[in-house]
Subunit: 352 residues, 4 copies
Amino acid sequence: MSKKIKVGIIGAGTIGSVHADAYAKVANAEVVALCDILPNTLAEKAKRHNIPLKYENYKDLLANPDIEAVSICVPNDLHAPIAIDAFKAGKNVMLEKPMCLNADQARKIVKARDKSGKILQMGMVRRQSNEADIIKKLIEDGRLGEVYQIRVKLIRRRGIPGLGGWFTTKARSGGGGIIDISVHALDLSMYVTGLWNPTAVSAKTYSKFGWPIENYNYVSMWAGPPKMDGIFDVDDYAAGLIRFGDKATLSFEVAWACNAQPENAIEILGDKGGVKLEGSNIVLLTEFDNRPADIKLDYDARRDGFASELEKFIGAINGENEVPATGEQGVIMMRVLDAIYKSSDLNKEVEI
Amino acid sequence: MSKKIKVGIIGAGTIGSVHADAYAKVANAEVVALCDILPNTLAEKAKRHNIPLKYENYKDLLANPDIEAVSICVPNDLHAPIAIDAFKAGKNVMLEKPMCLNADQARKIVKARDKSGKILQMGMVRRQSNEADIIKKLIEDGRLGEVYQIRVKLIRRRGIPGLGGWFTTKARSGGGGIIDISVHALDLSMYVTGLWNPTAVSAKTYSKFGWPIENYNYVSMWAGPPKMDGIFDVDDYAAGLIRFGDKATLSFEVAWACNAQPENAIEILGDKGGVKLEGSNIVLLTEFDNRPADIKLDYDARRDGFASELEKFIGAINGENEVPATGEQGVIMMRVLDAIYKSSDLNKEVEI
Amino acid sequence: MSKKIKVGIIGAGTIGSVHADAYAKVANAEVVALCDILPNTLAEKAKRHNIPLKYENYKDLLANPDIEAVSICVPNDLHAPIAIDAFKAGKNVMLEKPMCLNADQARKIVKARDKSGKILQMGMVRRQSNEADIIKKLIEDGRLGEVYQIRVKLIRRRGIPGLGGWFTTKARSGGGGIIDISVHALDLSMYVTGLWNPTAVSAKTYSKFGWPIENYNYVSMWAGPPKMDGIFDVDDYAAGLIRFGDKATLSFEVAWACNAQPENAIEILGDKGGVKLEGSNIVLLTEFDNRPADIKLDYDARRDGFASELEKFIGAINGENEVPATGEQGVIMMRVLDAIYKSSDLNKEVEI
Amino acid sequence: MSKKIKVGIIGAGTIGSVHADAYAKVANAEVVALCDILPNTLAEKAKRHNIPLKYENYKDLLANPDIEAVSICVPNDLHAPIAIDAFKAGKNVMLEKPMCLNADQARKIVKARDKSGKILQMGMVRRQSNEADIIKKLIEDGRLGEVYQIRVKLIRRRGIPGLGGWFTTKARSGGGGIIDISVHALDLSMYVTGLWNPTAVSAKTYSKFGWPIENYNYVSMWAGPPKMDGIFDVDDYAAGLIRFGDKATLSFEVAWACNAQPENAIEILGDKGGVKLEGSNIVLLTEFDNRPADIKLDYDARRDGFASELEKFIGAINGENEVPATGEQGVIMMRVLDAIYKSSDLNKEVEI
């Protein structure tokens, strides 16, 4: 029989609030504790989400034996240390994306999980979308045949988040657009195709728009406004090619900011058919009436992916389902991201 | 004073006819001879274009001392031998794209040109378009700032030309979509940006749709219909990344056939602005009223590029202008194409 | 000096919640009461929004002398009776769109307002958007010259709301897509252009997809799921032409459901320039570098229009600003909507 | 047995050349005569198309008893007098679009045809396209169900033809964009749907961009350059609604020039499905995998419609097929065009 799990959320920023709202829809979850180093934020969010226990130090939260699970919703550089401490404290861990700063840290997180015997789930929320289900089924049903090429385009015109803050400070974030936004599209691509064997990357990243901060001309900013005395030392544009052995490739272009029209698309090309996910449109490239045809499929794009992923996290703790996004997959993702940055630094292709 | 140049056209297929029509608009050109190995085609086209001299063997045409210039409009494998013979015969050479099968041949053509002292012009007709002028001027005027990324997308749904014929037979064509269609976009990109220093390529090509020939489902075919007993051993999809030293990259996706929606775009991204050429639309990415803005510019897209390039070819012979597309640039292009195929064969990045 | 206004919200459905959230951002507003005829909804929403007073009968809420203002967020047929009762009770009224079922009711509401001397504000939330400000300024600055044509396209593929419920029951809603969604676009068009003199309408409405209810094939439904034993007797498609005297026209196509690709656009054409609002994209049709050019302007699309309109409602009560959307304009809108339906019934043009 | 028909072409401008090229592909047609009032044009075109007989006066051409059929390719105001004279001379008549200046003239042409017993075919070339066949078949196969709404959008940014010449002089052309370009789309719409019973029109035309001629800012001009001392007294924008009894409507927006983005689309909406023809793209709005779906169908868009229509014209003369576009349909079209202009002049809906 499934039991109610007491949860603590570490990090009370935007994404911490998203988790709080989503846990509210999960029958077997009860958010009992919230942690943030900023007392005002902590008080305000605890009140808004009606969370009884407040901690300014995550170690105190981890020391509470009633709490069985934690959502880690903090800046990227804190993912690994807090996750490892959480496993040491015997907690199950829901870890937001990106997993951490690099593959070394990712392996240590998995090692800590193994030592603890607890659950680790990655915050790959796009896998929980209706479009992920539809595309995965199209592929499993053989509609695409053999997949050989994936095209990822995530192009923002002026979309640097929190300019000058932790997002744009490499020591805290691990990088820019690549680590922040490509992670969802790359994960979704590998998830629906099963291509979990990336072998080499040739990439180049650029950093053109965030510095000097006062010159950045934008119309709105996630996690803004800019900190004028802050740092911008990360990528705002990247392009590259990932090889999956000798059978498939993935080309990507990812920009927080550039002088190109916005794009948000993943295309998966097979020898029998193809699929394009553009924004929330799904187009199936196939045949109809014996002609080549592009079919835009209507579907319900409004599913709450966070509620779905947290439902599965709680389910995994209760032994009712598998973890939908594993630490092992997270390690693969971090190895890819490491290789992208390394390839750019060396200005040549590198193995993963 | 400029004089009238007598011209012979070698190859009376579609592109040969295009040259004949275009020379008719060039005041100082007189097409006096046509050559084709197919007697019927030769007779029909000579009549249509009102060309007096007919040759079935190009060597006979080259032996005519009145002819000062030739347009070479034959399958790719014949480009090098005919061009070299033409220079040996003291002719000026207008050579259709692609230059030839590979960089080795290309260098031999240039060597033959140097020995002859005659003019060699490459058939890079898109440089003669109004859009090329507009984009080149935008870049020269500094509207884009420093260019660091170029994006080339040439995606056809089912667009293999002459399936089973010389286009799809590697020994005759040198390759598929890459050598046939990417050549225009890569040349235009390097021409308008001045980025003539490609240093490395990481690419992968695929061959999925042309074989078996009877299974190919298409709605129309350039140079068709298919030869059912012919060969298809070339690429119909390719993706890759070209490095220009450490300062710029070009990502490309080129398909004769695939399960993706058609695209035909070149985007050039600079730190001050960007430009997108999509079909015949030019969009300038810049600022307007102090906001980031995308500006679609109206212009006359209907200039006859062939007449323009042949005008310049005749002008170059008469010493009135420079050759607009040189053999040296042609060699660079063939080195890039060679490297794309080599990178795919080796499944890793290669230097150019 | 501005004072804090005590507010009651009548109707605790989706739009009532939107008002509650928005009032929370208005410094001088305090939501003290909520009303709904459904006890469960009332209890749940009052708790969620932390509203102390709960009423099942709106007359009881109106009888509370502490309440100075009400937001009316109920089905359309109740707009007029509740608004009139509210004015009789001396309340200021924020009235959601559409104003009511027809122009007769609308005039009665305005008469009740005049008798009470209180404030009436219409829920024309799109006027509060950043795009409305930008477009209005473009027009006022003369960028468009004289406006002569407006084009409104609001096309949904399968977007009937609450099929079988009050939305699709003419006696309760007054109509379908026309009264539900065209109202925003028509109001915005007249607001930014100042064309408040519609004189005639030629229109036709259709009703093709909502009946029989069980045959309706949809992927998601606002205010759903369908009530299988409900009514659908309203329009799901309409097209027409509105004349503004002899100088300007507005063409519209509005569909809750049809077999056309979705569109959401307002275009305003002048003799000097034009503007297109498509989704949240603003394109200015003008000249650039002496060429005709289409300029997509970046701007912040994320302003909370509801908070803005409620701020102004409270401000108007405190005498600090004008009402941004008046009852008189609401009457004009209802006359247009009446005329659209009448023109369709008579199958000919009618005067407004 | 079908016999070879001797043809004369009256009018040696652009469209006359198109007919000459197209007749060259029709086995049973032999163009023996060409007529133009401009001696230079006549000589040049007769040479280019290899046409033996040249006439400066069409009456002399009509007097040649060997000629059995004529193509009339002259300015609109000459359509009726020449067509009527041709029938009097016992010729079969291929009449370019628009049929003439107004319905009165159209009826006289049909009367002359009836008196002569000869063939009259209208130049509705778009009916001969592959897309017309595909869409007509979709409708006949019941894929759309009952058609109730047609949407025609023909929007040019700056596309006035021959500004200052006969195109823009109402006495010679009959009107502007409406009579020049809407005619194809309206005819195609009525042809594929069978809706030949237009009953009323509510429309408004505008004239904003062609005058004064020297202020017109354009990038290319069909039949240009402008005649600076010419006339512009026709419509460059029109919008309206056509009723087909009580069951269907057609909304149109047609512009030679305006400040809106270019569009070229016909949409046909039925209760079972819809079809959109945009440029040369066909999209079928239907269901796929039980979901609402938009299906872009690939097809060969490159059929030569002129050769096809002239083939049928010759075939009709030889009694081998029906005329594909009749004079009766032409009269209906002219009644619609008349009504559009009349509705605009009266500023109210008119019956057709």
